[in-house]
Assembly symmetry: C2
Homo-oligomer: 121 residues x 2
DNA sequence: TTGACATATTCTTATATAAGAATATATAGT
DNA sequence: ACTATATATTCTTATATAAGAATATGTCAA
């Protein structure tokens, strides 16, 4: 009963800014630990530790090549977050206001190309 | 140097599942603390504590009415998360494949010359 | 005022970091 | 084997919860 582990799920894993930084860097393609370390303001051990967390929630994968480890992003693991947040998007995005209005008018006003005999009010 | 506070930013605030539950409930409209408590598997004090965190990051607002407090969602505060995750959407959503190719072309190899005729493999 | 109801706060306890320092492990080259 | 390089792990320290229990605060009504 303390905070959930950072490895509990993707939501917790990305709460740490440094890890989001790593994810952003990996979006450009795979990077070695050294590559990441050079661009971040972190020592190598910390980078490895953050990568370990990201690996545990499967946000990243590793490829071994000699003494290097190339980490790459499994972006699809971010989809649950995307979907969760997107479910609220209509509450702030006016683009979705029109969609809502459109969906509502579908119930009373037929559109071209689609027959609509469902007229609940 | 421990974990960031849950109130440090929205990313940390929503890492807690119960708080996401509260947010989801508030998406339907404002709710009193009691309303929330009844639907969650939490005691009232915990609900109040979670609401306090959400309020500190401005994800929710309160309206006082008699002895009740009605909390409502400020969904737009989720936009930073949405935007951040959406910036990776092209990496998993094939709908964005063409956009991805275009963006990669735009930012390929800053050191290797800026003109790049789509010869990324 | 007293009482009931609604919500917030305080304190405790178990637990989990994140960074830094030091060290360990692994691999390649000579 | 020895050395340099690349990465991972261990230990320490400061800090921050989240839930539970108990209590405090606030508000309305009789």
């Amino acid at each position: 009963m303390a905070r959930l582990a950072t490895t509990a799920d993707v939501f917790n894993a990305i709460a740490e800014p440094q890890r989001r930084g790593i994810i952003s860097m990996l979006a450009a393609g795979e990077q070695s630990v050294n590559d990441l370390t050079e661009q971040l303001t972190l020592k190598q051990p910390q980078v490895s530790k953050h990568l370990k967390v990201l690996k545990e929630v499967e946000l990243v994968s590793v490829r071994k090549a000699g003494k290097q480890r190339f980490y790459s992003l499994n972006a699809s693991k971010l989809k649950p977050i995307h979907d969760w947040v997107a479910s609220f998007e209509h509450l702030w995005n006016e683009r979705f206001d029109r969609l809502e209005t459109y969906l509502e008018t579908l119930q009373s006003e037929p559109t071209k190309g689609e027959k609509d005999d469902d007229d609940k009010s």
